[in-house]
């Protein structure tokens, strides 16, 4: 059997097993094992477990449970609500300020917690009711939170980026920094859109009102006194300090990324114990249960994805496909567009973790050959993964929104989210023309610490 046939069979069998509904981790392991039995020397079966262990036992990968712990600790505390109300008070005067405050809150919270769903539910559960009370269309409010939450995987520490760094053998420190510029670009886009949409809605409401219709809550102005503004700060500052402290530890050369994860998790637990008195076992337990559930699920998928890629590369499938793609001599941008479309389609069905680990050996060599910077591509790929979090059918964040605001019809949420998907695609185009948005910061920082 030629490599091509084996490759087709491998792909086809994977699709079949995955769509049977088998948990992704077991499906990947099963496919890899079956192909080992048929196409690899019998002795290789004896090393399956050693293989998986060795692939998994990298401390960079195993920092993931600790990053999740940090996120769960902050996500389960009222920190999100406090952060949100502080920003709300401070942004009161800006037109559409409430929407913009929500986006900023999402971005800051996402950077602290590192998880998209956690950000959506923490900021959304306070932000969506508030926006609706103020007359924002429900779909728009939901879309804004769903999109804002995705910033979690673009801002450090991002689990998606950790995996990309492992799969592409790029510097994690650089990749983290490269995400910051594009994340700010997205925040700018989102905020700009929120402000425009607010004015648009307010104008509509105004016409209705002057035409003798009912007055909308959208037209009411809120003002906050200075003392209200100052009072909002003390509970938020510690978390912002935690965020910056951890970054300083990482980029000041005091800690490795994995040590940062441990440090961040411990500090987060201590902070919520001090500020929100979350230290009793009954309060502590849900944090740990969530962490264990999410991290074990992810780590098993990661271990089995690595095993799956190992078999794919042993059978020369990934190399052949990569060589075939290179041999097509596609122009750079066609190649990039093709790969991104492939990633988007995979994103319909699979979580980012498995997409990255399964496709990296196939898509990265052609991209490298075409002269793309792999750090830059990591950022672009992460934005595509962000889109996958909010577009149907899987769109994890959509379901989180559905949970916290069950009365907004799913169709409204989806139409509310679409403009943000377009803005993300626009951000990718901008990054293609101005790669410096991603690459300037890592070059600046890494060069200066050297």
């Amino acid at each position: 059997m030629s490599t091509f046939d084996i490759g087709l069979l491998y792909g086809g069998f994977t699709l079949l097993v995955m769509f049977s509904g088998m948990p992704i981790a077991f499906a990947l392991g099963l496919v890899a094992t079956v192909f080992m039995v048929f196409f690899m020397p019998a002795a290789s079966l004896d090393t399956v477990t050693q293989n998986v262990y060795e692939e998994m036992s990298a401390i960079t990968l195993l920092s993931i449970p600790l990053f999740i712990l940090k996120g769960a600790a902050i996500g389960r505390s009222p920190a999100g609500r406090d952060l949100y109300s502080a920003l709300h008070v401070w942004m009161g005067r800006v037109p559409g300020g409430l929407g913009i405050a929500n986006i900023f809150a999402c971005a800051i919270f996402a950077a602290m917690a590192g998880s998209s769903p956690a950000t959506c539910s923490a900021i959304g559960s306070a932000g969506i009711p508030e926006m609706r009370k103020r007359g924002y269309p429900p779909g728009f409010a939901a879309g804004l939170i769903a999109a804002g939450g995705t910033l979690g995987i673009l801002l450090p520490p991002s689990i998606t980026m950790i995996l990309y760094a492992v799969a592409s053998e790029q510097s994690l420190g650089k990749l983290f920094l490269a995400g910051i510029g594009p994340a700010l670009l997205l925040v700018l886009f989102f905020a700009g859109y929120a402000s425009w949409r607010y004015r648009h809605e307010a104008r509509k409401a105004h016409t209705v009102h002057t035409g003798g219709g009912i007055s909308s809550a959208l037209l009411d102005r809120e003002t906050f006194t200075l003392s209200q503004k100052v009072a909002a700060l003390p509970r938020v500052l510690p978390f912002v300090l935690l965020l910056t402290g951890v970054m300083v530890a990482l980029y000041g050369g005091f800690a490795t990324p994995s040590e940062t994860a441990g440090l961040g998790a411990l500090l987060a637990l201590i902070l919520i114990a001090i500020i929100y008195k979350t230290w009793r076992p009954s309060q502590f337990q849900p944090i740990m249960i969530n962490t264990i559930r999410e991290s074990t699920m992810l780590m098993l998928i990661i271990g089995m994805s690595l095993f799956y890629s190992y078999v794919m590369s042993y059978l020369h499938i990934s190399q052949s496909v990569a060589e075939w793609v290179v041999a097509q001599h596609l122009s750079r941008w066609v190649l990039l567009a093709t790969i991104l479309v492939l990633v988007i389609v995979l994103g319909f069905f699979l979580p980012p973790v498995s997409i990255i680990l399964m496709t990296a050996p196939i898509i990265l060599p052609p991209l490298r050959a075409a002269g793309f910077d792999l750090i830059w591509f990591g950022v672009v790929m992460t934005i595509v993964m962000e889109m996958g979090l909010i577009h149907p059918p899987v769109g994890l964040n959509l379901f989180v929104i559905k949970n916290i605001a069950p009365d907004i019809p799913l169709a409204d949420v989806i139409t509310g989210v679409l403009p943000f998907v377009v803005l993300m695609a626009l951000a990718i185009v901008v990054l293609c023309f101005l790669p410096e948005i991603a690459l300037w910061l890592p070059e600046k920082v890494i060069a200066s610490t050297r």
């Binding site: 099963l30 399956v48 264990i292 999410e294 991290s295 098993l300």
Partner: protein, 157 residues
């Protein structure tokens, strides 16, 4: 299958301790490096063992919560009685893979114990420690999948 339920709960408590301990170990390493020049080559590896152990040992509990995600598109399309069969086949195949993996973990553990494998680092801890956690964890997971496959009403607290 109450025993399995209790065991899983104990493992969750153990995993909690392991996770927090791993965070402490890594923090200790940062602090020690900052204040002294003592090399802490063991901290990363200790954290690896703790976190690998947590991952494998809690896999069965996560399955009891149906926490291992899959593509569930078919279950919405298939009629219920066929879907029940699909689920059974999926569970049996999952259990078969996990059983195979457990078996190979035990043989690996035996080899590591018998020949005294140690990790290839300066600290050189014996590798039977993480291997045994992997073997026990995967065996429990296999058991759990079987129990749930044949007792659909089994819903642990």
């Amino acid at each position: 299958m109450k025993a399995l339920d209790y065991l899983n709960r104990a493992i969750v408590v153990l995993s909690t301790i392991a996770l927090v301990f791993a965070a402490c170990v890594l923090t200790y390493s940062v602090v020690l490096r900052y204040f002294t020049s003592i090399a802490t080559d063991w901290t990363d590896e200790m954290a690896v063992f703790l976190l690998i152990g947590t991952t494998f040992l809690s896999a069965a509990w996560v399955h009891s919560q149906r926490g291992h995600i899959g593509i569930e598109a078919l279950s919405a399309i298939l009629p219920p009685h066929i879907d029940r069969w699909r689920r059974l086949v999926v569970d049996i195949l999952s259990a078969a893979f996990c059983a195979f993996f457990s078996w190979k973990s035990w043989t690996l553990l035996y080899e590591a114990w018998d020949e005294g494998y140690v990790s290839a680092t300066a600290w050189a801890p014996p590798l039977w420690i993480p291997y045994s956690l992997m073997a026990v964890g995967m065996t429990l997971l296999t058991l759990q999948i079987f129990v749930q496959a044949f007792r659909p009403s089994f819903r642990p607290s």
